[in-house]
Subunit: 221 residues, 2 copies
């Protein structure tokens, strides 16, 4: 029986992942050792490394799972008629989903921020997550019939993705109760982002648009 073996293996992997996430949530990422994770999952230390290539990889696995969990939750919310509503809904769904793990998600950011790591796990592994995010923003733009200048169309989803990432970073640092500061920033900034997109279609603002596009192209090159 090949399937039973694979199932048992997946089960063990899951057991380790759950044990780790539980401890990360309780005690924090840095404060939890791989030995404790293994003990909690009732396996030997080395086995955690058989299933996960590093401690960071565990957080990354959670991140991958989040991608799959979030897909239907976001699809459910891709109904609003206005772009602003869609942006708010998409981002709020993510905040709600990640809320219990808010504190230790920062640990991932910390390592991802290290330029030395650009080739390593993160760039490659998190590509699917980013692709999915981009598709969601692209969908929100087209389905709401938001008019977008031709030269901006290719870049706008990525710009919205960066906007989202900035908000998530702010959210991870946000120590206000219930992260209400992030909530306010989200509302105010989403309004502004949408206003800017609308303004960008005005013929009068063509030079300004070209200037911004120049920046975007340097950043993405």
């Amino acid at each position: 029986m090949k399937a039973a073996r694979a199932a048992k293996s997946a089960e063990t992997r899951e057991k380790i992942l759950e044990a780790a996430l539980e401890l990360f949530r309780e005690r924090g990422f840095a404060e939890t050792s791989m030995r404790e994770v293994a003990a909690q999952a009732k396996v030997a230390t080395g086995l955690a490394y058989y299933y996960f290539s590093s401690k960071d990889a565990i957080v990354l696995a959670f991140y991958q799972r989040a991608k799959d969990d979030l897909k239907p939750l976001i699809d459910e919310v891709q109904t609003g008629k206005k772009l602003e509503t869609r942006l708010l809904d998409i981002i709020r769904v993510k905040f709600r989903y990640f809320a219990p793990n808010r504190k230790f998600l920062g640990a991932l950011m910390a390592h991802a921020a290290d330029p030395g790591n650009s080739l390593s796990p993160f760039a490659g592994e998190s590509r699917d997550v980013r692709e999915q995010d981009l598709a969601q923003f692209a969908r929100a733009l087209t389905e709401t019939g938001t008019p977008v200048p031709d030269d901006m169309a290719a870049h706008l989803p990525k710009v919205l993705w960066m906007y989202q990432m900035g908000l998530i970073l702010f959210w991870m640092y946000d120590r206000s109760e219930g992260q209400q500061r992030t909530a306010r920033l989200l509302e105010a900034s989403a309004r502004m982002v949408v206003a800017l997109i609308k303004l960008s279609s005005l013929p009068l603002l063509r030079p300004a648009r070209k200037t911004v596009l120049e920046l975007v192209e340097i950043v993405e090159s």
Copy 2:
């Protein structure tokens, strides 16, 4: 003799700092061990910890020294008549100074990006550095006689500081030869930043300015 003792102590500290920076530059931050640093400085491992509370603290010490080194270099350049020239000059001076250490400075960012570290060394220790940066941008604004709306005046230096930090982050990641992408981004973005500041004085744009200010105030609260 008390002074001789203190001088010797400072000398040892300097010896360790130099040994560390040399190895960090050659081999990278993560790839250099504290034992190697101590060996290079010809002292015992523990002594490095007598002078520096952690490995990160060594990079921080370099960062502190940079602040003092940069002060006269930037003063020298605070002469341009136009705000754009000043911004370009100030930021270019920093790039030039940090260039040899570009790769390992990222290591500091990585740890500083961890939300769990907000109370720890970085927030406190890097305050002076930030204060000095803010003062430099404030000086550039006033000495060039740039007209700034009253409600923006208090925030603008910090906004410029954030702009600078964004550029530095981009620069640390920039793998293009001689970081030419950063050079181009700097030029294009500085032009835009200055244009935006000028536009912000137009009475017609008062509502837009208020919107942006609302965001800035949420972020800084």
